[in-house]
Amino acid sequence: MRRRPVAEWRLLARAPASRAIVIVLLGLTAFGAFNGAQRLDEERDEIQAALAADRESFAGRRAALVELEAGRTEEGQFGSPRKAHQAILGARRPLMPSPAELPVISAFSPRPTPSLLPVGILTRHSDQQAGLEDPTNRLDGPFDLIFVTTWLLPLFALVLGCDVLSGDRERGRAALLASQGTPLGAIVISRLVVRYLVLAVPTALIVAATVVVMEWEQMPAALPALVAWLMAFGLYLAFWFALAGSVNAVARSTASAAIFLLSLWVAVAVVVPSLAGAIVSGIAPPPDRLQGILAFRDIEADLNRRRDEVTDAYYAASPENRPIVQGDEYEEYFVTELYPRQLAFDERFAPVTDAMEDARIRQARLLRIAGLASPTLAFTLLSRDLAGEAPERRRAFYAAADEYQRRWRQHFDHKLASMRPLTVLDYDGKPEFSVSPEPVPARWKRTVLPLLALGLSAAGAVFFGVRLARRATPFGGPLHAGG
């Protein structure tokens, strides 16, 4: 009995079709890993370049201010490091979210949480352009590890597993097999286990190697996520092989088994997630961007109409910020008009953006529940979450960015609004952005439901599959159990 898997492995290794399937899958997995790694490298390069440019820019301004204060240079009309409305008002600082655990498994574009967010006194991060990628490419979706493991791998599993017993029945060998003393059920299970290992082990190794290479510097955070993902992956693949076993137990021909299994793939991987999506979208609609834009413009136009009132209100609340010099028309506009208006705007627009973030999170929560209906959906959601695409992470980042913007404004508020000259201390004491990782319980709470859904699906399918396989007969059909 113990030798059976070894014998099955040898048989499988000898079949050219099986070898070809495994080689093709490994090639595709490697290509998916390459795409994810390339995308991540590009993002990291972009972040490094933005950070370097930010450092250089502020160091340059500070050095210019030192020169100016020492009397070695003269102040020009524009670009003065001493005037906050020239040096700081338009400046944007690059903010990064806390690193995701397994970003390399996804090349999804546009990323739901931007990898880089420019924030300054006048920025509004409510309307980011998605990127320049050809929309036709975006529609097809990325060829990444999530695509390979979620949608392609089950198809390969079904192709490898569709004839574990039905092929023998078709060739008339099933009765002979059954007469050898080993129950057909045991044969089916050992064949499936061998095929499972043949697909799971190399794929898992490629994913793990990619994660280790790309996330080496933050392995302590990535490791638990990698373990959780591998566990989910194992359960997900087990579900599909268990389905193949169940169908083989009853199918009389490979053709019927293959068609039935492909229909199941279409149902579980395409139809159910789409249906679930439609239902969830009905119960928890996505944030209405168009209404968001109209609200944005309404507030903007209203504040513009009441601009004098807004300016008066600001200086009445902060009399110490009244300008100490009479500015020119540009300064009057940017400092005494636009700046107070921006503060008033953000206060009024914040509930709209909060409602939009809430809508995203509500939808994500419902989708996680819907994952109970389809292991593909559960696995997709789990993978994307570990890749850093959960809306909760986006909200946490945007909240941190808002808080940073508040501190940034507060730091320069007095000098900017009163048009007092900046000093080196203002530059040296400027606030820096830091975002702490999500609290561990909140972070892992999100993965419980998809993992549970995968565990239940796999356990149910394996239980059902083993039960049917044990009753398998040389002729097919569960009613023939026991001969």
Binding site: F31, P135, D140, P286, A301
Partner: protein, 474 residues
């Protein structure tokens, strides 16, 4: 003779309960997807209509402000859709739906639905009428073809038929035509829904165009199903058993429908990488500041403009000008921005074109990619249509900016900047009137995928069936 074979095949297939169930399922899913698409389309039209009205109203009633700030406040327009978008929404989920028309910047489609709606990216493809017809109809065509010949060979029917004097070639053609008649059932039903829907949903002025688009769309999908059927029949004839033929057909389906589209896009991106947004913006700013093709950057141009304007008006300095120099400056800045934008955007477009060539090269082996491009093109939801609207919107934006700059030039004198325009001034900017391109234009833009699909449907199918007739042994 083959007409007889085709009739017999049609009757036999219709008697097959499994096929009837498969057809009923396909039709059910197709109708459900079309109905969902219809509801989505209507809702989208309503939302866009009310959004555009709101944005126009906001432009008209923005109150007093500087015309240049009004140009920055700008306005919004949304991508108009043809009625056929209910069947094939194409790029809708992934391309932005709105364009913000503001001063200095070429608009870019923003507010991408897939960014906000997580339910749109749950499957390997977006579910729509066209996806159902192409993916599931394609699967049915391949499976029917793969089973057709080998099952008759294995059961001995083929031997009997040939013994009655029917040639293999005639039998094969007849059998393929009979199966094609079966596939015409879901295709015909889809045709009724598509043409009827397109005519019903389109305004009267474009109804004929919509009907023609719908007709070509049905024919395009028909060609895809025909090709897949022929491939299935060839596999069935050339491979030794139904089991092997079916496995091969499923492998073809996975390769063509699941693997090839993403692989094509990924390879296109590898072959011609799209610049990042920040790299693109840096290039635009660089060209604006530093100039190109021997022309100086903006600062040098502004200096020359100042000198030239002072000379033209015969005054001592800009402050003595009888017109508002800031209006002239803004006009020049916008014109220079437009040149820079056109240059950089043309570069981006050439990258898109290179990517399209990679996709079409792969489409030569995977007809689904070509069929999908044809379907989107006819539904008006491909990049060519988005680009057409983008060009019209950009023209409108430049004109709007020009009007605002003219106000500054007319109403001010010298170097003064501050002034206010009123709601009456904003009303002089008429709304964007956009004429959608015709079906002829659309067909012209999809020449390559159309040619590929036609080549598959004629040459490749001919070669396949000839090969099948030669290789087939009873």
């Amino acid at each position: 003779m083959f007409a007889l074979v085709a009739r017999r095949e049609l009757l036999l297939q219709l008697r097959d309960g499994r096929l009837r169930v498969a057809l009923a399922l396909l039709l059910g899913v197709l109708i459900a997807a079309c109905a969902a698409g219809w509801v989505q389309f209507e809702r989208s039209m309503q939302e866009k209509g009310s959004f555009e009205d709101g944005a126009r109203d906001q432009w008209l009633t923005q109150g007093e402000r500087h015309p240049h700030r009004a140009a920055h406040y700008g306005t919004y327009v949304t991508m108009p859709e043809f009625g056929l978008a209910f069947f094939d929404p194409g790029l809708r989920p992934v391309a932005g739906q709105t364009l913000w028309l503001e001063a200095h910047s070429r608009p870019a489609f923003a507010n991408v639905p897939i960014q906000d709606d997580q339910t749109l990216s749950l499957g390997p493809t977006t579910v729509s009428g066209s996806a159902v017809l192409q993916l599931l109809g394609g699967l049915l065509a391949l499976v029917m073809g793969a089973v057709a010949v080998s099952s008759d060979r294995e059961s001995g029917v083929l031997r009997q038929v040939l013994a009655q004097g029917c040639s293999i070639r005639n039998w094969l053609i007849g059998k393929t035509l009979g199966l094609a008649a079966i596939l015409a059932i879901p295709l015909g039903a889809a045709g009724v829904v598509i043409i009827g829907g397109a005519v019903a949903i389109s305004p009267e002025s474009v109804r004929a165009d919509a009907a023609l688009r719908a007709l070509f769309l049905v024919l395009g999908n028909g060609l895809l199903l025909w090709v897949l059927l022929a491939v299935g029949v060839t596999l069935s004839s050339c491979l030794r058993s139904t089991r092997v033929a079916l496995t091969a057909a499923l492998a073809v389906w996975i390769g063509v429908f699941v693997l090839a589209p993403r692989a094509a896009s990924a390879l296109a991106e590898v072959a011609a990488p799209t610049p990042t947004l920040s790299a693109y913006r840096t290039a635009v700013i660089g060209a604006f500041n530093d100039g190109f093709d021997g022309r100086g950057g903006y600062a040098a141009q502004l200096e020359a403009l100042e000198t030239e304007t002072v000379q033209r008006y015969g005054v001592e300095s800009l402050a003595d000008l009888p017109i508002g120099f800031s209006g002239i400056r803004m006009q020049h800045m916008d014109a220079w921005s437009a040149e820079v934008d056109d240059r950089e955007f043309a570069r981006l477009e050439s990258i898109y074109a290179s990517q399209q060539r990679v996709r079409m090269t792969i489409a030569a082996f995977a007809p689904y990619i070509a069929a999908r491009a044809v379907s989107r093109g006819l539904a008006g939801t491909d990049w060519a249509h988005y680009r057409h609207f983008l060009t019209a919107a950009e023209r409108y934006r430049r004109n709007m900016g020009g009007q605002m700059n003219a106000l500054i030039e007319e109403r001010l004198a010298g170097e003064v900047w501050e002034m206010d325009g009123t709601d009456e001034d904003w009303a002089t900017v008429s709304p964007l009137r956009y004429t959608s391109p015709s079906v002829g234009w659309a067909l012209g833009r999809m020449a390559t995928p159309l040619a590929l699909l036609l080549a598959w449907a004629t040459l490749v199918v001919g070669v396949c069936l000839t090969l099948a007739a030669r290789r087939l042994r009873p």
